[in-house]
């Protein structure tokens, strides 16, 4: 099963290599990975999509927690969460297709961020299903280039009381998922 995991790490050089190295050394999959600073510049938040049976996911989480530079690990899959990805798509845009492209962009609540006589570039945000549906629709028109950010994710509102802005570097104060039940 696929899991979305938030990993809060020290914002230091080499930390990404530690995480990536852990996954490759132990044979875990990374389906998607994105990193960015939190409100505390010393803390970065990674969103990692990985897949495996329960035992593998348990190991992924425990092995991540074992790294000294990892501050907190949350398996979002066990709760209600929002997941988004942004994509930039450059499509062939001869005048005959421009109206169609704009219409699709509109339906998907995207934005045209670049236009020239031959191409248009569209920015769209959504979950994986939406992005894939958009790509399917644009394919017949002619996709020239595509860039995806990888997923970012966050637990839904009920955890709000625990969230950031309290000197916690944008980390929830309490684990959404209980720690090792011991």
């Amino acid at each position: 099963m696929r899991h979305t995991i938030s990993v809060f790490v020290e914002n230091k050089f080499g930390v990404l290599a530690r995480i990536a190295g852990l996954f490759s050394a132990r044979g875990f999959n990374i389906d998607s990975l994105s990193v960015g600073e939190t409100t505390d510049p010393t803390v970065s938040r990674m969103t990692i999509l990985t897949s495996g049976d329960d035992q593998i996911i348990e190991q992924v989480i425990k092995q991540l927690r074992r790294l000294v530079d990892v501050i907190k690990v949350i398996d979002l899959t066990q709760s209600d969460y929002v997941e988004r990805e942004m994509v930039l798509i450059k499509v062939d845009a001869p005048s005959a297709h421009r109206a169609e492209i704009l219409r699709i962009c509109d339906i998907f609540r995207g934005k045209i961020v670049d236009v020239n006589p031959k191409t248009m570039t569209m920015e769209v945000t959504g979950d994986e299903g939406k992005i894939n549906a958009l790509i399917d629709l644009l394919k017949p028109i002619g996709i020239k280039e595509i860039a995806r950010t990888g997923k970012v994710a966050m637990a839904r509102g009920k955890q709000d009381k625990n969230l950031a802005g309290k000197g916690q570097g944008g980390m929830p104060l309490e684990e959404v998922v209980s720690e090792e039940k011991t």
């Binding site: 080499g14 050394a25 035992q55 348990e58 907190k72 090792e180 011991t182």
Partner: protein, 555 residues
Amino acid sequence: MKISGSEIFIRSLKEEKVSHIFGFPGATILGIYNQLLDSDIQHILVRHEQGAIHAADGYARASGKPGVCLVTSGPGATNTVTGVATAFMDSIPVVIFTGQVPTSMIGNDAFQEVDIVGITRSITKHNYLVSQVKDLARIIKEAFHIATTGRPGPVLVDLPRDVLMDEAEFHYPAEVSIRGYKPNYIGHPKQIEAALKLIAKAKRPVIYSGGGVIRSGARQELLELVNKTNIPTTSTLMGLGGIPGDHPRFLGMLGMHGTKYANLAVTECDLLIAIGARFDDRATGKLEKFAPKAKYIHIDIDPATISKNVRVHIPIVGDAKLILREINKAVVPGDYSAWIERIEEWKREFPLSYQQDDEIIKPQYVIEQIYDLVKDRAIIATDVGQHQMWVAHYYKFNDRRMLLTSGGLGTMGYGLPAAIGAQVACPDKLVFDIAGDGSFQMVLQELATAVQYNLPVKVAIINNQCLGMVRQWQELFMNKRYSGVCLKCAPDFVKLAESYGAVGLRASKPAEVRPVLNEAISVNKPVVIDFRVACEENVFPMVPAGAGIEEMLLS
């Protein structure tokens, strides 16, 4: 007052009460070597950096204090890699300091530059590249803290030359605060309660004790538990000495070369209590056939070892010593008398044995004689192979920190430098390195280190003139097609020892074994003893790779 990075380094080590460093100098760490002259920290100059890291590891295992190793950049650093992995697999607290080219040159493929932090990332508990001198003292403090707390392990600190030359105020932090590192020591009371219930209900319990018992110093607590409950106890190679080797409830080692009765007990048990053990494949054999009828209690300080290889019913994360104390307070054993009687029958039916010979020395006999002569007086280091398993079978370890052996990585060449490190840590103890002729030849240059510092280690070479364990596998599983195992071309070990300024002795007949051992012990110098043993002796019992542990070859 501002002082140089090199001076900060020395003063930080003094703060950590480091008394010995095992090292080998080079261009990038000249500043430190210069400072060492004015310091009372003793530097032991090894002959190869692998010797330095193994010696630091042996020092740590023998003393319980962290071992320290200092090497230069590039090849100096890469030569430690095998030893770092050895310490990592066996959870040994060592701190490795490597030189590095100046920060301005990092990434330029400079002379003797290597990305040692990148290379050792997966074989250290943590590692650091110090980029500014102002961070040096804090990082050294953190390195020692991380190496010695929680599940111990090696920590590497990479020191660029300019960082050692730059100056800063010296301030050694009193405390460490790392938000991502907070090991848990106290076992959860509910889990302990659940474990106690299982122990009271069990009919056929077995304790499976590992290296964690040694590392946490839980020997007394384990002994108390076994004495209170009478639960039969087996041990991994790393756990030997965790309970006295001659204890009536002790079953010897389990696993691939375990005793038949230990493996039968594990196979038949209804409750397996794993303490500081990690269900390594050499202990479990085929997992589906490992303790198939049992519920598992697993006590370990590292949450990641729990349910890694097997599903555990009652995990207890924390320090073995503290958890066993809690268990001992309230444990109520069940009636295991029928079970113990059954195990005693197995012990009588399948004892460890070998065929003694009047003319040819049997390797097992040498181990028995060493044990008989020195018992608890000695620290025993081993290399890896047949002799290592015979030590596990025939030497009864009655205390922790008596056996120094590379269990996880299985590193040949570990024994001699580890023995040197142990002798430095314990100058008044008798230290033996029981070695194979193959393993010894990987590190024999360290004899010079032993002689230089007058470290009277006794190297007992179990010389079968071949790579015995590989030869055994080829005999049993490759139709006796021996490939790449013959070591008949070897130096005369007696003359070799003498040329280094050590004492060389030889025994070729069983009757000579005891006198030669007596002589070795009586001289206060490093000794190499060449025991010419039977070449085709095999280690039994043995579980073929991939089989269940009850499927043993007994001869």
